[in-house]
Amino acid sequence: MALVDLIAEALTFTFIQRALVVGTLIALCCAFLGCFLVLRKLSMIGDGLAHVSFATVALALLLAASPLLVSIPLVTLASFAILSLSERTQMHGDAAIGLVSSFAIAVGVLIASLAQGFNVDLMSFLFGSILVISHADVLISLALAAVILGTVVLFYNQLFAVTYDEDFARVSGLNTRLITYLTAMLTAMTIALGIRVVGTMLISSLIVFPTVTALQVAKGFKSTIAVASVISVTCVVLGVFASYVYNLPTGATIVLLNAAMFLVLAGLRKLGAIGG
């Protein structure tokens, strides 16, 4: 069968349609937030919280509850724990992330070994599986993405000011602490949103890759977000189709496409063909 026919066939499946909708939403949220996280040197918070979501998914499976609904509040709490650990104990941010994420992995492993029965299910959350996206997941994802994207647009000026120069933002009367907690909360929500399609092990790469790739070409901050969004959505859509056509794991395919995109644009920049 020709490639076009295979893609047309793929589009007739409900699970592919859902994967494309949810995947595009995740791609947009990751690109929007990634720019603020990467440039504030908070990329690792995404990685740490993804590890936390491993524990929250295990807990949800144990309780037979929705992984998304259990993860959102718990991962958000973990993000606040990381920030307040580094604030109160003057611990370095990366150490706080290390503590919280390894603690969560340990809890997750304990829960998984206690329950014993859901090893296959847990694998699908570790590395993502588009076969298991329910109709309710699609609706929750739509609502979540609307909140995340809406909040970024609403607070864009303040998020940018804090990212560029936190001290200056504070002098300007901005509540920089509130903005930092807001960023962490939105990150937690994005990670919870992403565990279905790309999985807890790979979600943080969706936050980092598109932004770092966009940095190779963009001059301004808004254009970086725009370029990162295009790259991110393109990789997710191509990844979903490629995983169907070639029978590959979706999350890993999306991440590899992102890596390829980065190598190409970084190479072009090195050669002086692009870049500001």
């Binding site: 440039l39 607070f155 940018f160 002098v171 001059k219």
Partner: protein
């Protein structure tokens, strides 16, 4: 002369460490004050207190009626963006200088964009508007940071070591620009600098700190002060005041 700012019996501490005590002074509108003193003498701490970043342990900082903290423009010490990859255009950075005067949710209107363009034009860097900040030279970046500080038309401009990273020619140009802002646009300026020669040449008043207020007044007063001769010795005193060989003292 009208009063812009009154500081009364100010004491500043970092934890238990006292950095400044018993400081009282009045800043008049149109003043151009050079703040000097040895390392650790409390210069930057004083600026932080004026900016509301360091709460006073004792004493008061009072701005005149219309000048709250919001009408203070600030050019921080470390302004060179260390990350040349940071994606921000000159215009985007200058616009953040307007956030102080905005109410929540701090959105921009079209007149804000025009205001940023006007400030860039005023400082002679209108052509840089769409450029990436990380690609500019040190002198250009410093003008952009000044434009950000000036964006909300502050009554008081506070600068912390603004020229320490600039080469001498660019440094003189920068001082001349500040001089013009002070004389022509009537902006009140307080500037911390180690560059004793330059602040003596350009600023109108000297504030010398050494964990307390050693001197505050015009250079003529400084030059003629016997107390300062005793404190500094005559050579240093007249090195600071920039009057000798320039026909003033």
């Amino acid at each position: 002369m009208t009063t812009l700012l009154t500081v009364t019996d100010l004491e500043l501490k970092y934890g238990r460490q006292e950095v400044l005590s018993g400081v009282s002074f009045v800043v008049e509108r149109g003043d151009y004050i050079g703040i000097a003193g040895p390392n650790g003498s409390g210069k930057t701490s004083l600026l932080k207190a004026l900016l509301g970043l360091l709460p006073p342990a004792r004493g008061r900082i009072q701005f005149a009626d219309h000048a709250g903290n919001r009408s203070v423009g600030y050019l921080p010490q470390k302004t060179m963006q260390s990350d040349p990859l940071f994606p921000a255009t000159v215009k985007e950075v200058v616009m953040t200088g307007l956030l102080a005067s905005k109410r929540e949710p701090r959105w921009f209107a079209s007149e804000d964009s025009a205001r940023a363009d006007a400030v860039l034009a005023r400082l002679g860097v209108a052509a840089l508007s769409g450029k990436k900040v990380g690609n500019l030279s040190g002198g250009q970046q410093q003008r952009v940071m000044l434009a950000r500080a000036m964006a909300s038309s502050p009554q008081l401009l506070i600068l912390d070591e603004p020229t320490s990273a600039l080469d001498p020619r660019i440094r003189d140009e920068f001082y001349e620009l500040l001089d013009e802002l002070n004389k022509r646009d009537g902006v009140t300026i307080m500037l911390v600098s180690h560059d004793i020669g330059s602040i003596g040449k350009y600023t109108k008043k000297l504030m010398y700190l050494d964990n307390s207020l050693v001197f505050f007044g015009t250079y003529d007063e400084f030059c003629g002060s016997e107390a300062m001769t005793t404190y500094f010795g005559s050579t240093s005193q007249h090195l600071f005041c920039w009057r000798h060989g320039h026909g003033a003292c």
